[in-house]
Subunit: 429 residues, 2 copies
């Protein structure tokens, strides 16, 4: 074994960073044995230097992250700051100064992954980011490497633990959205401002990353269709149950049937209770992958949290350090297919639509005509009447999303339709 240690700079020392530092210290011997050389924490860049950080010698702490990545003797920079800046500049600077980078930064990778990859390649260094998607669940490496000889057609996943906790709570307890959110906040599963989670921004960033890797093309955050889950109601769960389904916030990346384009989207959807994703409880994440030869695979585990995310970071750290010792690099960006990303309107899916309608003869015929005019075929209709009002629940066959939303728009204009109570896509069948 080489005795000169590999030097690691840690940018950020919050929940994840402190755990990375802790494991680097407590498991130093194991890491050295697995890498083939010891690793040494050479510096830790933080915002609040006065905070006591157990197990991290004070002399390693600095507030000058830029100086740390510019030192020139750093082998690997671990970036767990998050957000776009200063993370982007720090990572780029790290590559320029000869370091490889392990990042957990989904927002940055979704926003600007291609530029980061280019910087890594220019300087002959590695960019690894297993922790950016689904915490500890090995997902980036299986997609980039294990499935490198296969053709992935679909990635369907629960990639946000906060929203899964909330939806699971709503499903199992009958609670409404606000009540379930309050509980998630009280238990620390939701942040004080839960927007990034509940509006699907976090999941959309992950969908962009997964779609890019799965289809060997570039997918940016802007390419991802996004709907949050704040409008999912207890009534939606009741409807879902009647269909033998539950509701999950899903990230869905698909190759079009003709293979010429891809789509990426995040929205709440009904999925059958028999689908493996339906039984993913609490804050857990799971990602379902469908590939030509491999068939259906699923990866399941904790999608967030300091320790699980640190596990993913350290797995990458070991790989990147091994590469440094071998004077090699792992797989870089693979975007050779250059498949375009189609808009949401092109996605082929199914709708579950609840309508409040006048309870009089001919309404169903009117409604059915609207579906037919838009080329959307109806799978089932359930009609329930009471006191001159009725509700109509329509489940469609698969149709382009544009045709489905056109149908809903037209339905809203019918005199006999008093309101569209809910629209939800149906997936995983």
């Amino acid at each position: 074994m080489r005795t000169r240690p590999l030097k690691v700079a840690l940018l950020g020392c919050g929940v994840v960073g402190s755990e990375v530092a802790r494991i680097m210290t407590t498991h130093a011997d194991d890491l050295a044995a697995r890498i083939g050389a010891p690793v040494e924490l050479a510096g830790v860049a933080v915002r609040r230097p006065s905070k006591v950080r157990e197990g991290i010698p004070q002399e390693l702490i600095t507030t000058d992250a830029t100086a740390l990545v510019k030192r020139g003797d750093i082998d690997v920079v671990v970036e767990v700051i998050g957000g776009i800046e200063p993370a982007r500049t720090l990572i780029t600077t790290a590559f320029e100064h000869g370091a490889s980078v392990v990042s957990a930064n989904k927002a940055l990778l979704a926003e600007d992954g291609a530029a980061l990859y280019a910087a890594a390649e220019e300087h002959g260094r590695d960019l690894y980011y297993e922790a950016a998607v689904a915490g500890a669940i090995p997902l980036i490496r299986p997609l980039r490497e294990s499935l490198a000889g296969d053709k992935v057609n679909r990635v369907l996943g629960i990639v946000n633990g906060t929203t899964n906790f909330i939806l699971d709570k709503m499903d199992t307890s009958g609670a409404g959205y606000s009540e379930a959110l309050d509980e998630a906040t009280a238990l620390g599963y939701a942040e004080a401002d839960p927007t990034a989670d509940v509006e699907g921004f976090d999941a959309a960033a992950k969908a962009a990353i997964l779609a890019g890797i799965a289809f060997h093309t570039r997918v940016r955050l802007d390419d991802v269709y996004r709907e949050g889950m704040t409008e999912v109601t207890a009534a939606d769960f009741a409807s879902a149950r009647r269909m033998g389904c539950t509701i999950k916030l899903l990230a869905i990346c698909e190759r079009a049937a003709d293979g010429g384009s891809v789509t990426a989207r995040v929205h709440p959807a009904m999925i059958p209770l028999s689908h493996p994703l339906a039984s993913v409880r609490g804050a857990y994440n799971a990602v379902f992958v469908e590939a030509d030869a491999a068939g259906q695979l699923m990866f399941y585990g904790p999608g967030a949290g300091g320790s699980p995310t640190a596990s993913a970071v350290l797995g990458d750290l070991v790989a990147v350090c091994r590469n440094r010792l071998n004077d090699a690099t792992g797989p870089g960006e693979s975007a050779y297919t250059q498949l375009p990303v189609s808009p949401m309107g092109d996605v082929v899916t199914r709708y579950h639509i609840s309508l409040d309608v006048a309870d009089k003869p001919g309404v169903l015929a009117q409604v059915a005509t609207v579906f037919a005019e838009h080329g959307v075929s109806i799978d089932t209709v359930r009609q329930q009447g009471k006191d001159g009002e009725a509700s109509l629940v329509v489940v469609t066959h698969r149709a382009p999303d544009a045709a489905l939303s056109g149908t809903v728009e037209a339905l809203r204009k019918l005199d006999t339709v008093r309101g569209v109570a809910s629209i939800m896509r149906v997936e995983g069948e």
Copy 2:
């Protein structure tokens, strides 16, 4: 991109080999883009050269596997023959002649993995074998690489599709073992001689491989405790259901609580219906991994079949080819912990025991005394009497397997115990 192709020799052209050859041809452009150089099928060693093999030029076919691996211009040998010999000699010869090896051979890796790794290292070549365990499910790479910075404590998996199909059938239809086996055979899930599957030999080989990788030590097939599932009855399933459990044939690899040793075993066990492994249906495989930092992960997918296994082989092929181009090698054997493998008696687990006893006062007291004398604490007892005969179902707390089997032995000697109807371990709680 490099234009000179990397040359691949394929040893074996059965269900898996023919699929590897097919994908290499149909997806040649994708493979080339992902590797950075084209790959060329340079030869295919078979036993029956006269058989027509669609898509494989006749001039590539040879019966002389040894000459093929000795050619000297082969970059990668893909071994999908299976069995110990001639596979072992061919792989060793391949390394000696400068080739890296991708193998799907679980029996050989479990039997002699250390020697193969040593040969690979001696010649500076790669040995990859994702396809040897759980077909298409990325498992070896996540354990070897993604979790390389973590400490795995437990691997608990359904790693044999045939037996899972049979047990699932028994569970869902109430069928007995022979009936379910007949159906598995008729559907092609079980071979004409199902011994390797139903007696747990196949799963034991996989357990040996998984334990070695998970705990960074050497575990051989002989180190794995093995019980088949041919004696599981419909009555066992009925008992399991009463406990809120089902029965699976599990491969279980554990680090001892004190960290100083490991165990590996294969046997049927009751697991709670709420455990993610309980809902693994049909011939699917799934492996649950518990690690210090990552927490609980699960990997799920098709565990066998030509296409899924070929997917795993090709993922390895891409990795090994990239390494060749980089003049590097991937991670080799990691057995530095040198943890000894403890015998089954040291495993700490729970038992579910059904006894046929005389229906008279004092029997329970007698039975309970035997448990106490062996230091085994009882969790629950269920007693059911009828016509002078009674059955007693005892579920124990966790205790060393040796104490549990000693208890059963002593129970058999009691006059009031007419018979031990079934003994089954309880796992996954």
